[in-house]
């Protein structure tokens, strides 16, 4: 597998799973014992990958993923992406706003033998929760990192 093959694999994952809700294709692209690291913790197994997509698509049914930046080296592919979708159903127990919502994040995936075997995700949960109205707007321009 070349770096270009690895990029194509992740593009397929994004298009099928995030933009199409095609969980069968997702399962064919992720190794059964794949490891998934996120701010919520570390999970093992392809079902963790499926669950993230299905729960998000339930809450934001028209969700569309756009790739904003891509970097790849050896067996790793990094993406900065954004999800645009309308808040229609509860998400993590938070009632829907009915409004267009933007969720930005980054993922690193490690590929082996044509399958995703590990993923590290970092997302702007603060921005999402602010848009969903659960926390006030963050502090002004004097705010630091």
């Amino acid at each position: 597998m070349s770096v270009e093959d690895n990029k194509r694999l992740v593009h397929r994952f994004f298009n099928a799973a995030w933009n199409g809700g095609d969980i069968d294709t997702l399962r064919s692209l992720v190794a059964p014992d794949s490891v998934d690291h996120s701010p919520m913790g570390t999970e093992q197994g392809v079902e963790s990958f499926a669950h993230v997509v299905t729960s998000f698509r339930e809450a934001f049914p028209d969700v569309k993923l756009t790739i904003e930046h891509e970097i790849a080296e050896d067996d790793r592919v990094v993406h900065r992406w954004r999800l645009d979708g309308t808040s229609r159903k509860p998400f993590m127990g938070i009632p829907p706003t009915g409004k267009p919502t933007v969720f930005e994040g980054t993922t690193v995936v490690r590929v082996r033998d044509g399958k995703i075997v590990e993923r590290w995700a970092s997302m702007d949960m603060l921005g999402l929760m602010t848009q969903l109205g659960t926390i006030p707007q963050p502090a002004g321009p004097s705010a630091a990192q």
């Binding site: 690291h37 690193v108 590290w120 970092s122 702007d124 603060l126 630091a144 990192q145």
Partner: protein, 145 residues
Amino acid sequence: MSSAVTTREQAKAAVQRWFKDIWSRGDMQAVDEVLAPDLQFILSFNQVNGREGFKRLLEANREAFENLTYSADDEDIVAEEDVAAAFWTMHTDRHRGTWQNVPPSDKEASIHGMSIFKFRDGQIREIRVISDFYGLMTQIGGIKK
């Protein structure tokens, strides 16, 4: 003006200096060496333009968080020519000063995040950060669960 390509190796070395020398040690000489004068430091909720402005942000953060460290394993840095991405861990022994309007909590805190770096002539000219600020805010009591 020359515009020399920043190799993968140079990019990775600069990223490690960003975490080890600049953030974890507060080394202002490293800031001048590693960062371009017109650096753009882009966070989900804030943006700092210019190396001098960044120095103030760095000092404020190192003041607010005792023994602040950022670290990334070499294998968690992915690079191409002129760009790199790093999945990192931030840790502080104690939140001891006001940060983002959150008064000192005396809490220990640790989060993960991802930064994407763009280079010009061997120096970092842009850094875009997506990290678990929501988790940090929760840990220091800025957001009630």
